[in-house]
Amino acid sequence: MSEGKRTESLMDKVWKFFTSLKLAISVIIILAVASIIGTIIEQNQPLEKYRQVYGDGTIRLFETLNLFDMYHSWWFLLLLVLFTVNLSCCTLDRLPRTVKVVRNPKTTLDENLEKSLAHVDRWKKKGGMEGLADTYKTAMGSAFASPRVTENSGTLHLYAEKGIVSRFGVYVTHLSIIIIFIGAIIGNVFGFKGFANIVEGKSVRVIPTRGGTDQVDLGFAVRCNKFRVDFYPNGQPKEYSSDLSVIEGGREVLRKTIEVNDPLQYKGIWFYQSSYGPAGAASATVAVNSPEGARMETFSLTPGRKVEIPGYGKVSGIDYQDNFQGLGPALLVVLEKPGQPPAEYWLLKAYPHFDRQRGDTRYLSFAGVDQIFYTGLQVARDPGVNIVWVGCTLMVIGIMIAFFMSHQRLWVRLSRGGDGRVEVVLAGSTHRNRLAFEKKFEKIQADMRAVEA
């Protein structure tokens, strides 16, 4: 018996602990303060970077406390769990009481209630009770909300309420946080995040995830047909885009050009334009011409490679400029002819016959550079994300309901006074936004006092 009692009181204590607002505010503050740490210590950096900032002892200490990946540490997750448990317990503890208030409204104004209310007014009026009740009913209906009337041993009670839904705003908001957490957990457990670099013309099917420690087979391949980057006049990138094809079962099933802020989605897997870079060295296309201007051959030059032109000499490219002295793209080549010292000169793309002026047996022209790029794609599947958006929407709605609406109630009691006149008591209450209600109450009060029965 005593054993049972003790456990019950322990349970009570635990329940009280988890439903206390003190705990809620403490957890919120602790979460806020703890979150600061992770913004001061840079998260998930390579060890070398930490070595530049911290000593060995500090690094060991921080590693023990998981401060380098703080937001995924056991203790931070524990805080989030505590936060969620507290939130759920508070809701379970308070919701039934709210439902009770909503379901069984106090429709009669007795003396105890009257004393507890902040807004009370009383006056006397000549005339019949029924008639007065009807007039007040209409007045309340147009100024506030239509009241219900109850009669109780010669006393008439009018009761009207408004904005009852605002009592539930807080629960909607709390529920929305739990929904967001559920969505986040689903995304973490059943989704993945990876990264793929695809060279133009190539495709990928398997994506490395978790920083390369794991991988995911997409079940289809993604090919990068073409990558493109545009620049502003000042040289800053304006937009970069990748022309992608989804290939499944040997067929192209989808094709889309993605850019930053415009991803591709196939079978729940999203591909986001994230970065780009050159794949290998650029190559320059150079043509060999006879002095008469007939094209004899073309070849491509890559850095560090010499190309032999039979019966003439060896050519290599050593520099390239986008705009050489205002003359446009230009290539600097070295020509080595047998028995002669190497000679350097520029070839201009815009003037293909420029090199003819050397008056040699051959002249060269520069047709342009080719650069193959790779596109860097963020690849993600997150089956929980829509649940998160539902939670977010509910959160905004819940907050609006909770703070911009209020549960307002009005009571009127009519009884026959000793002097034969009707005694009228008007009382009101609001569970939020007192000042706004005060003004409303004053207006209703004035209106009702003014009406003629």
């Binding site: 607002l21 809620a24 505010i25 919120i28 503050i29 979460l31 806020a32 979150s35 600061i36 992770g38 913004t39 001061i40 840079e42 998260q43 937001y71 986040a184 995040k193 502003y232 000042n234 800053q236 990138p237 304006k238 937009e239 970069y240 850019e259 930053v260 802020n261 991803p263 999203w270 986001y272 334009q273 994230s274 963020q378 690849v379 993600a380 997150d382 994300v385 998160v388 958006w389 977010c392 959160m395 905004v396 907050i399 609006m400 703070f403 911009f404 939020r432 007192r434 000042l435």
Partner: protein
């Protein structure tokens, strides 16, 4: 650049309005405060026009985009929001005493903007999104609400201290009653809070659309969460534990300090994904 000239005029107007309000309060010259209101209205017109002109000028430069994408623009937009929020409060609560505490915030913001690069720069690809508009506007309306709340909280503390010591007279006499001030500290926050919430959510939605992660604990995200938590704590303490008056006012000021850090400190001190303020 026409828009920058107009913003310079706005700065001047905010400065004159601030002086007017302060002198009116301490020198008991209601006329000056009334002039202050009209200067604020003029500043609202000029700064709105300046934002429009800047927007149009960016299109003329071939890089058309909403003017809220670097530190200079975000500062002038913040000052613009504070001014409008303030005018709404002045009109609703019929008191010009607030002006002496709120308009200097707008003026200081413009002075700070003055020290920053003001030319129109093209947008990096990551910022070219319709989410930008919703994200920035919601965040700044939220920030403006918190700024007004903190300004009023200072007034509350001044007045409550005087009343406690039973000192009569002085500037606080011209303040609304402590009851009204206390209520306004709260009301400004319940305006700011849902906007901050929407700002964080639109930011998350945008991040998800741009790189597939709605939350990555980037310092800016984390600080916005910290600010959100501080005001959540404020609202819980107020609504369920009846924190009024002094403690509520102090919490409102703490919240605004966190807001300022989230807005400026993160960019100036920490590193992250948000563009303005850094380079």
């Amino acid at each position: 650049m026409w828009n920058v000239r107009l913003f310079d005029i706005t700065t001047l107007l905010f400065g004159v309005a601030s002086v007017n309000y302060v002198v009116a309060l301490y020198g008991k010259k209601e006329t000056l405060a009334r002039i202050g209101t009209w200067i604020c209205v003029a500043a609202a017109v000029v700064s709105t026009a300046a934002l429009g002109v800047r927007w149009a000028e960016s299109y003329k430069m071939g890089i058309g985009r909403i003017p809220v994408t670097n530190l200079y623009e975000s500062l002038v937009f913040f000052a613009w929001s504070v001014n409008l929020f303030y005018l709404a409060v002045e009109w609703k609560y019929r008191s010009r005493a607030f002006g002496a505490f709120v308009m200097p915030i707008a003026f200081g913001t413009m002075l700070f903007a003055f020290t920053n690069e003001s030319s129109i720069q093209p947008l990096v690809p990551a910022l070219q999104s319709y989410w930008l508009h919703a994200h920035v506007i919601t965040c700044f309306v939220g920030y403006a609400g918190f700024a007004v709340s903190a300004g009023v909280a200072v007034m509350y503390l001044m007045k409550a201290k005087r009343e406690e010591r039973k000192v009569t007279g002085g500037v606080v006499q011209r303040f609304p009653s402590t009851k009204v001030l206390d209520e306004l500290v709260y009301r400004a926050i319940i305006w700011g809070f849902p906007f901050l919430t929407a700002g964080i959510i639109t930011g998350a939605a945008w991040a998800n659309y741009a790189w597939g992660t709605y939350w990555s604990w980037d310092p800016k995200e984390t600080w916005s969460l910290i600010v959100w938590l501080v005001y959540a704590a404020f609202l819980h303490a107020r609504v369920t534990r009846g924190w009024h008056g002094r403690r509520a006012a102090i919490l409102s000021i703490v919240g605004f300090v966190a807001t300022i850090f989230c807005y400026l400190g993160v960019n100036l001190v920490l590193s992250g994904l948000h563009s303005y303020g850094g380079a």
